[in-house]
Point group: D2
Chain length 341, copies 4
């Protein structure tokens, strides 16, 4: 590269004259183009590219307390609008989705508080969000019943984590529920560590009940070929990762096992690479594995997803406009390699 | 506190239906109210409160590469619109402001690059921003001349860092320059570590020139009473801190020395408290010192300022509307305790 | 609290006169007592307390690339010395343990490297550690055989993640293997997200083989009562968490489900609370849930576990001395509520 | 590079058999060689190289609350043993050094505390360290007297920050004081932002006293040629940076202005590069500027300096042994380009 190649495009300074739409501000970030602002505007471009690419399947990986923090309807709406094709989540996010679907709530709280008092009051804290124990108890009771019902229907046949998620969705009626929306729209939700959440405790309740002979059986490995085949059947794949952890790893492993590699990748996280954990690993590191393609359109946004993900969605929805309609490739081709609930 | 007091306000989930203005999105964040989104919306409220409080002086502390990253015009505009009353900055940000005022540029680059090649090409890297050496050289030459001219005018009289900044601003003609805007609008710019930047090297050039008998003298301590008196004369004080470091400490020390304590405080940073440094220290820790009042309206936003500060400004400008005019208290009362340049 | 209560114990400054043992340095940290040094010395005290408490069961939760980074033998030795009673791990750490048990290696590399070249060379990168693809291929082949053998032995009976781990350990002969040591010492290893690792891909290989009629069945929920009962049967429980994620959550959930709450807790992480994720959540937050007792002996060490965990172990082993022998409570009482492999 | 070049050196797993000295553990880290452990062991090697290189001048840059946290004696001892040649510090660290030299103390506290109660009790908090206001008041009174005395001696002649630091050191008698040790050993201490600390407030007290006609004058720019010449006169230069901020920038600017570039560089920090600030910038970025040489021996340790810096010192002192004596190059050659106090 010659010297002048490094000095082509000057930073244009951000100007805010009166009222701006979200995408107008993101365009300013694109023009300034540096540090977090540059990365965020690139993330918007990449999500837009994924959606305009008619052969791309879009994965959303959810770790962290995405639902308690207020992104439940946002994700349910993305599912209903066909702007997300596959979800991989921690169990906990779907637990919190179900809590609200059953009439429970998350409450605005504070992070400086007497936690022992909360304990005595039976209130659980998630940073600055509070959840009353009774909302968990209601969930335990109602879901244990659903487990029994599902087990009876399945008669000893084992489920994958995705079939489990859809079975729950089928039994929830709240339109704003992620589980419900995914069930209705046939968007697979994989929960690779579903036992590591209230879903695990509820299973214990359910299996300990008098008369429970054939408790609900979820096969730990059954979803592996399902998610891998989704990657394989898609001409191109893109991922949006919130947080990292098991959901990020599961999506990336599907890209590796299917020998496809992601064509588009957005990771939103506060983790960093230096301690060697997967959540903070760079998107160049993933290239060495073949999880992300060498020429993929990719970016890592270092920031709080509760701020940056809605910014990305708002910017991209504004760009696409009301007219934009999308039918995911796998649905169009009737290729979704997952059994119906 | 009773149990029900913890469970008053449910998290309202974010909804993005089509095009949103920046403040419409921030209002969604206020309704969800949690994690980073809650903190960011609180920061918008606090800046709005500072500006609507007719007796409040607003300090902006700038550390980090705020100017290279594209926030130069934004800050110059805030000065010209009387939305910022005092600036405390690293020397480097004003160096980079002057570079552009003299025709230089910052260029969009990348953070994965052969730095030794850049070195051989005489290109300096600031994360993903590039600056050519010749823009520094032009600065060195022109500012060394200005130093000589200022020294001649002052005839051995020492300057404070603020007087130094205004003398530079007087000699720059670029309307988008922070230094120029501050000079024109009589907004003090304190540079408590000005020697720690190209301004220090330029002084050496200037003082080493043949025939330089009385080099420009900046008194390291002269700005201490100036900034302290600004706090003292203001019925209320508010600070917006970007980054931390010396600028944050200088503003907080003025609040302490004046025995006023900040009434409003916003800190935007990626630093955390655990290692004990000032930049990551919490705004409750500052209460113990009296730097921030016990009842101050305050928030710490953990995030990249190049994203979050423009969001705050855009949201607040939208709220204030085109009609809003503000005359800072100290200007109204003619109390600005700083000598004119 | 009276004023003098806040001013009881002066910071004693660290002195390094010639050669120090690790615990001598940690004692200096205890005397200085501040910031990270204070927290680290507290962690040493807490691990010592866990081990000297004859009624305490010690859980170790492993997330992040603990094995590739060089802590494999350290953990195997802790198991063999009866200094760790239960392990909860990501699948990946046990995958990397098995890779070395089968003759593979991790190699010292670098984090600035051409990842696309590595990809072409079939070398996988984990920050600054390299693993050749052939070591994974050997693993795939050998473990797929083991899966088939285990499935044949179990004849359709489902396994828990712990039984799966012990079955593997039974078939590995390397004395430095964590899986082998755990199998020999009857230390349960729970892998709540085992499908999210090469173990999942290997299952696919195994199940796709010609003639595979009854593939190995791991019941996603079967380990829930097992780990919960361990907490329940132990008069006291302590946890050491490296990293966070699913392993931390699984241990804490067992403490909650068993209504015991941890009596001792050490968390070593680089994650922070502000974005609301579990990995960075404070140990006071966990009190609100009942996962950690209100009066627990607890500390969070913000730092790289590859540095701090060996420091803790070295300090505590030095304190305990060669003579110290420990028989875990559950083994003494013959209460370990887990089926043998 | 060929494939086999990437796979040369296997990670050796850490073994802790009984009592280890600090350097024995660091050697284990060197053998494992990955993530933080690898970086830390590299830092030990580099500091050892600096000290064994007879033509290297060693700079120590101090930001963050290094002194309150317990590293005061450690640094004073390094000065007295000729293991550090130049110090660049925040003002605050020297303020806290002087507080103890005058009989004050820092106290072990806690980070979860009622800060408003501390405020009412006149106790200042620095994360988990407490300082009583009266120790500041004593400092104010005694140092204001010293300022007056120094001003009288200097008769209007301006001081550099280093001359100021030595003048204070001359007037303090505590053997454990950094300022005293530096004065006695003729180790320059540069305080590029000295006004941003209690030193600034004390100047105001001093200058406001009745009868003060010629207050102490510190020339903001006078230390620029001093520190630059130290770099220039040294055949090789090395830096150890704790924290970042102005001290890091000042040392690096001296390396740039002298056109030497650092030959050795260790940075210990928790800051990261993504937001573009200097404190978290990588040591490859510094190469583009010429602040660090392209072939420098360099490493960045991500971690709490209160843990890692004593580890480095203990490891290196153990390697050097009791016999090792060092006379810094500039002292040997009588080249120290700084006026005596």
């Amino acid at each position: 590269m010659r010297r002048e190649d490094f000095l082509r495009e000057p930073v244009k300074h951000i100007k805010i004259n009166g009222k701006l739409t979200v995408d107008e501000l993101i365009q300013q970030f694109k023009n300034s183009g540096s540090f977090g602002a540059g990365r965020l505007s690139t993330a918007c471009d990449i999500y837009e590219h994924m959606l305009r690419d008619e052969k791309c399947t879009v994965f959303l990986a959810l770790a962290g307390a995405v639902v308690p923090a207020g992104m439940r309807s946002l994700i349910a709406d993305l599912i209903r609008e066909n702007l997300i094709d596959v979800i991989v989540s921690t169990g906990a996010n779907m637990v919190h989705d179900a809590i609200e679907a059953l009439g429970g709530h998350h409450y605005k709280g504070h992070w400086i508080v007497d936690d022992y008092l909360l304990y005595k009051y039976h209130i659980y804290r998630i940073y600055d969000v509070f959840v009353p124990e009774e909302d968990f108890t209601r969930l335990d009771y109602k879901l244990a019943e659903m487990y029994t019902e599902i087990a009876a229907e399945k008669r000893g046949k084992s489920l994958s984590s995705n079939e489990f998620a859809w079975e729950l969705g089928k039994r929830l009626s709240d339109k704003n529920s992620i589980l419900r929306a995914a069930y209705e729209e046939k968007v697979p939700i994989f929960l690779p560590a579903l036992r590591d959440s209230e879903f695990g405790f509820i299973h214990w309740l359910h299996a300990s009940r008098e008369g429970c002979k054939d408790p609900l059986l979820v096969d730990a490995f059954k979803d592996v070929p399902q998610i891998t085949n989704i990657c394989k059947c898609s001409p191109r794949n893109g991922m949006i990762v919130i947080g990292g952890g098991v959901p990020r790893n599961t999506v990336q492993s599907a890209a590796l096992a299917s020998k496809r590699g992601m064509d588009y990748a957005i990771v939103i996280t506060m983790d960093r690479p230096e301690t060697g954990g997967l959540s903070g690993s760079t998107l160049t590191e993933t290239i060495s594995w073949g999880k992300v393609k060498g020429k993929a359109d990719k970016v890592m946004v270092i920031g709080d997803a509760v701020i940056t993900f809605p910014l990305i969605v708002a910017s991209v929805l504004e760009r696409l406009g009301k007219e934009f309609k999308r039918t995911p490739y796998l649905k169009r081709k009737n290729l979704l390699p997952v059994e119906e609930a």
